[in-house]
């Protein structure tokens, strides 16, 4: 399902805030009345619990029908009796509710065994969910009541309704979410809070590449999608990171998304480098950079293709190598070198090429290529070459020309191996790591070496560019793949094919305008709009702004 270009549809994208994990989403199907639920972007072993807390406005203590209108920073509930406003408090996980026309609110909760409901008897109620954290409910204006009881033998609370009832027509309350403990919050004035949220969003938009003329609305949509995808550090997630999705199976950060995010935010060096560094902060003693991570689980078993080099080169190229902050270069240099060293130590075959052990390590759906053997793929070599090149440029920036020369020589050597062993004259192929068998290669990884740009002989780049031109949707199953589109567009540019690169970027933006940012929510369920679509939109917008029309 594509996210409609001109609406904040909470069936696709959640209502949330930058850094927050708390969110509201609509679980209704198309054509049904809305069904707003409050949930949290956190892994739960029982499954994705989108309907953690159901919400409804009330009149006279009874739930009533409503519609909603959501813009970044404010969610407005419309009923026949009036409106209710909902917003986040600052960048905290505090969701605020206000009505001034007699509307109340009801929160419906169903509990699993061992979950928590306790009336603290100080005006607040604490609700806790296994693995999902705890909520505090409190009203500032009005009354709070509930119908909770405890079923001893079942070690479970009864399904519970928390009711907020207005007094003198006014109701104001909040929910606060945290992982470890929840206490009452001091809040700012509601209207001020809304205004500040909207200002924060506006400031955020200014950090992004400016919109291409005619794409302003979709640009804002993409901006919101990415805004809510950056979550604050929490426990094992040491740095703020972009989550692939706020809801669903992909509600985690992935290493490659931070790299693409850094490319999108290259105008704000601090943010860009912070994103790029976020997964190096999790690098283990052997040098493994995890493939994905959230606040509790860090996956070292499936490290992803090393796209960090591509991201760094992109940033240095567009910012200007000398304009890149030296302190940031110093911060990244050692961990990036360790990352390259990891591949050389643990994933290089005797023929001098790197291999993946498992399909999940690749960026693309290439699982069919893996048949119990580690695979030397052209995309992996490409990303590694770019990492080596990036190490060289960092070394140069840090004033170590000898180290720079060695890194670049390494990149050259691996490029030669790639061409010697994985180019069959017509296209790139993959090989089993024992070097004995060529494997039929999926189209996407076969074309990724175009990213090497002028490292490749011209006849090869011509063949790759021609293949990309012919194939409008390069992803194996015919569906658009944002990452592939991005990489191929950059690849064309690096080959000096400015016009085709411009054309590809414009084609992508036009498609987004027509169909909305590709979200993946249809496959993954409500609220699971993927941040990647927005990130790619911004990188390609940035590129389009800089490439002159012919």
């Amino acid at each position: 399902m594509m996210m409609p270009a001109n609406a904040l549809d909470l069936r696709t994208v959640v209502f949330s805030n930058r850094y927050a994990r708390l969110m509201l989403l609509d679980l209704s199907a198309q054509g049904e009345p809305p069904s707003l639920c409050i949930s949290v972007s956190r892994d739960d072993p029982t499954g994705v619990r989108r309907n953690l807390i159901r919400f409804a406005p009330t009149w006279g203590g009874e739930a009533i029908a409503y519609q909603y209108e959501a813009v970044p920073g404010l969610l407005t509930i419309h009923t026949e009796h009036g409106t209710m406003e909902i917003c986040f408090e600052s960048e905290d996980d505090v969701l605020r509710f206000r009505s001034t026309n007699g509307l109340g609110a009801a929160f419906f909760i169903e509990f699993f065994m061992h979950e928590l409901f306790v009336d603290r008897l100080d005006g607040s109620v604490e609700v806790g969910f296994t693995s999902m954290g705890e909520f505090l409910f409190e009203v500032i204006k009005g009354r709070q009541s509930h119908d909770n009881t405890w079923i001893g033998p079942k070690m479970c609370a009864t399904p519970t309704t928390i009711l907020w009832t207005p007094e003198a027509g006014e109701m104001e309350g909040y929910l606060f979410w945290n992982t470890e403990y929840v206490e009452k919050k001091n809040l700012t004035d509601f209207s001020v809070c809304v205004a500040e949220n909207q200002q924060r969003f506006a400031r955020w938009l200014r950090m992004l590449p400016p919109p291409v003329y005619g794409f302003e609305d979709i640009w804002r949509q993409a901006g919101y999608l990415v805004w809510i995808s950056e979550l604050r550090p929490l426990w094992r997630l040491k740095e703020a990171a972009l989550y692939m999705s706020r809801c669903g199976e992909d509600q985690r950060a992935s290493a490659w998304l931070q790299s693409f995010g850094a490319m999108a935010f290259r105008r704000d060096q601090t943010l860009a480098f912070d994103l790029l560094f976020s997964f190096f902060a999790l690098q283990d003693p052997s040098g493994t950079v995890p493939g994905t991570a959230d606040d509790r689980r860090i996956d070292y078993a499936v490290p992803k293709s090393p796209v960090q080099g591509l991201a760094l080169l992109w940033m240095m190229d567009r910012i200007g190598a000398e304009a890149v902050d030296a302190a940031q270069c110093r911060r990244l240099y050692a961990p990036l070198c360790r990352w390259v060293a990891w591949w050389k130590e643990y994933r290089f075959g005797s023929n001098g090429l790197a291999y993946h052990n498992h399909a999940g390590e690749t960026l693309f759906d290439t699982a069919s290529m893996f048949c119990g053997v580690p695979l030397q793929t052209p995309d992996l070599q490409t990303f590694l070459i770019l990492c080596m090149e990036a190490c060289g440029h960092l070394a140069e920036r840090l004033g170590d020309p000898e180290a720079a020369r060695l890194h670049l020589a390494e990149a050259d050597a691996l490029t030669e191996k790639l061409l010697a062993l994985l180019w069959d004259g017509e296209g790139f192929v993959s090989m089993a790591a024992d070097g004995r068998k060529q494997i039929e290669t999926a189209p996407v990884p076969a074309c990724i070496p175009i990213l090497l740009g002028k490292r490749l002989p011209q006849e090869i780049t011509e063949k790759l560019a021609e293949r990309l031109e012919v194939s409008r949707t390069p992803f194996t199953d015919g569906a658009p793949c944002a990452a592939a589109e991005l990489l191929f567009t950059i690849g064309l540019l690096r080959c000096g094919k400015t016009a085709p690169a411009r054309k590809a970027a414009k084609r992508w933006l036009d498609r987004c305008l027509r169909e909305g940012i590709p979200s993946g929510a249809e496959e993954q369920g409500p609220g699971s709009a993927a941040a990647l679509g927005g990130i790619v939109f911004f990188i390609l917008s940035d590129l389009l702004n800089d490439l002159p029309e012919e």
């Binding site: 928590l116 296994t130 954290g133 033998p153 070690m155 470890e180 403990y181 078993a301 005797s350 119990g372």
Partner: protein, 589 residues
């Protein structure tokens, strides 16, 4: 001489606990239903391992399955068939399991979930990659290894050399890459070293009376092999409850393990402190933890760390502890006690309350039938110990002012317990929401006997009389967790009638401290004998038929029942009680 502890022809087998080692995430167990042996990894989505049957282990000869029996010591699992033996042990690095076959081939069978896979590495090793679980590597040391990683089920097969009839294998568990720098030592050498490691661990404990010696060894094995960490979000070695069932380290259970280690004060102290590594900025500590970041602050566990401190100060050799140790404990414990007073008393009663039954450790106890929050006598008893522990630590540190402050707080809570919650027969729950008191049949309301002589004599005698009355709580196996005539007895549950380890410990030691040594001893012997015959299970069902409802109890209804899996927790309780008995006997001698 090393004696078999578990096995096909032993009193207990690997259906009740796995063959594993301290620090090892890999383990082998026997499935209760299909009776097969399975290799698994102590990691999963929830506290009960969701994939215990990860890799089936079978012996084969020319493709046909071989029947076998098995037996195990602390260091070696032996599968014996008509065609020869297969043995398992662990290297000093517990992430490596060693296997040796002298005859049969080995067949490992498994299935992948979506997004999982395996491959043959250039080294020839086979690497399996599972979600959440991590990686398992198979490295053939001698013999031949073949694999099929694309069919369903997948297989890895190890065949002995045709001439020597020997095959050796290393099975490794790791997160990202397997780094092996040393050659593989001889199997028997490795097994002997592992046995020596276990024997050294046993030196943490004192002697036990002869009838309990064999079970004591099993108990020590259960505790030793349940150690995990440091790894991931396990910052220090902690003792898991079980590597398959409730595969977590629980806060209050570390205290039981600590106070059982009478011969190693440093390790006891370390275990008492270990959960404070997770103490948050307002002083709370989690309910349980795992290496996968599954650290639960939703609830906590009973705050018995002060009880543990008092046990150590009163009964251990303190020469190994320094002022720095006392200071560290004081700083953390005092913050934790304050947390209970502040963050578990939003109603401002002046006393901490349970906000969830899990915080009492007695999850489905009748004490919480009337809802929460509840000021509970067991919590207040723990709080008295906590305050007293802080006072005594402050005293050891020479801070008279803090010492007095904390003793005052201890008396404040004790006075409330005695003056307000005692109704002449038992202690009551207080419900701040309704401002009412609540009486029930839960043992929770008699457990404050653990305070010993801190309670007036008339309270002590009333409690002991009721606890030892077979019409009320006393059974052949120990004190039941719910009054035996209660209509709420459900023996299948944890705390609605079963005889359970933590309660027995508190009651036995409490009665002894209260001056009722004979009654304490009687209860102790009953309970230890029950464990002797039924194993180190969390709960013992003292009757075949539920007294109130007349339902017949299926004792081992499933691997999940409280009467089935062994628990390290019960192991430590067994050791502690048996050690105390031996000490008593030696004093009498």
């Amino acid at each position: 001489m090393v004696i078999d502890m578990f096995g096909t022809n032993q009193q207990f087998n690997l259906e009740r606990l796995p063959f594993t080692a301290a620090g090892a995430f890999l383990s082998i167990y026997q499935d209760l239903n299909d009776k097969q042996l399975y290799l698994n990894v102590c990691r999963g989505k929830s506290a009960i391992l969701d994939r215990p049957n990860l890799i089936r282990i079978a012996l084969t000869q020319e493709g046909a399955l071989l029947p076998f029996i098995y037996s195990c010591t602390a260091s070696r699992l032996t599968l014996s068939s008509a065609q020869g033996m297969v043995e398992f042990t662990y290297e000093a690095d517990p992430s490596v399991m060693r296997v040796r076959s002298t005859g049969p081939a080995l067949d490992f069978q498994f299935r992948f979930d979506p997004s999982e896979s395996g491959c043959v590495l250039p080294s020839g090793d086979v690497e399996l990659c599972f979600q959440r679980i991590g990686k398992i590597g198979f490295s053939c040391i001698s013999g031949t290894m073949s694999e099929n990683l694309s069919d369903e089920p997948c297989r890895i097969q190890i065949k002995p050399e045709p001439e020597s009839k020997v095959a050796e294998l290393a099975i490794m568990e790791y997160d990202s890459v397997c780094v092996r720098n040393a050659p593989y030592a001889a199997f028997d050498t490795v097994a002997a070293e592992k046995q020596a490691e276990f024997d050294r661990f046993c030196e943490n404990y004192g002697s036990v009376p002869l009838p309990y010696k064999a079970m004591a060894e099993k108990a020590m094995y259960m505790v030793w092999h349940s150690y995990l960490g440091p790894r991931g979000s396990l910052y220090e070695p902690l003792v898991y409850m079980h590597k398959l069932y409730m595969n977590r380290a629980f806060g209050w259970q570390q205290v039981f393990h600590a106070i059982a280690m009478k011969k190693n004060t440093r390790e006891a102290w370390r275990l008492l402190l270990a959960f404070f590594d997770y103490q948050n900025d307002i002083g709370g500590i989690p309910d349980h933890v795992s290496d996968l970041g599954q650290v639960t602050f939703l609830t906590t566990k009973p705050p018995i760390q002060g009880y543990g401190v008092v046990q150590i100060l009163d009964g251990f050799d303190l020469s190994a502890l320094t002022a720095s140790d006392y200071q560290c404990m004081y700083d953390k414990l005092s913050r934790y006690v304050d947390w209970w007073f502040i963050y578990h008393d939003h109603a401002r009663t002046g006393y901490p309350a349970f906000y969830h039954p899990d915080e009492s450790g007695y999850d489905e106890s009748t004490a919480y039938n009337r809802g929460l929050p509840v000021i509970s006598p067991d919590l207040l008893a723990y709080t008295v110990f906590n305050c007293e522990a802080c006072a005594r630590l402050a005293g050891r540190l020479g801070d008279g002012e803090k010492e007095e402050y904390w003793f005052r707080r201890a008396h404040y809570v004790l006075d409330y317990l005695i003056q307000t919650l005692w109704d002449g027969e038992q202690f009551l729950e207080y419900l701040p929401r309704e401002k009412t008191f609540y009486k029930c049949g839960s043992i929770v309301q008699l457990q404050p006997i653990m305070l010993g002589k801190r309670l007036p004599e008339e309270i002590r005698s009333t409690l002991v009389k009721r606890l030892t009355d077979p019409e009320e709580y006393m059974t052949d196996y120990g004190v039941a967790s719910e009054h035996l005539k209660s209509d709420k007895v459900v023996m299948r549950a944890f705390t609605r009638g079963a005889v359970i380890a933590p309660t027995e410990l508190f009651l036995i030691k409490g009665m002894r401290d209260a001056g009722y040594e004979t009654e304490a001893r009687e209860l102790c012997v009953r309970y230890l004998n029950a464990l002797l015959h039924q194993g180190l299970a969390l709960g013992i069902h003292p009757y075949r038929v539920e007294p109130a409802l007349g339902n017949e109890i299926a004792r081992e209804a499933s691997a999940m029942s409280v009467g089935h899996p062994f628990s390290s927790w019960v192991g430590s309780v067994f050791l502690l009680l048996a050690e105390d008995l031996a000490l008593e006997d030696s004093l009498c001698d």
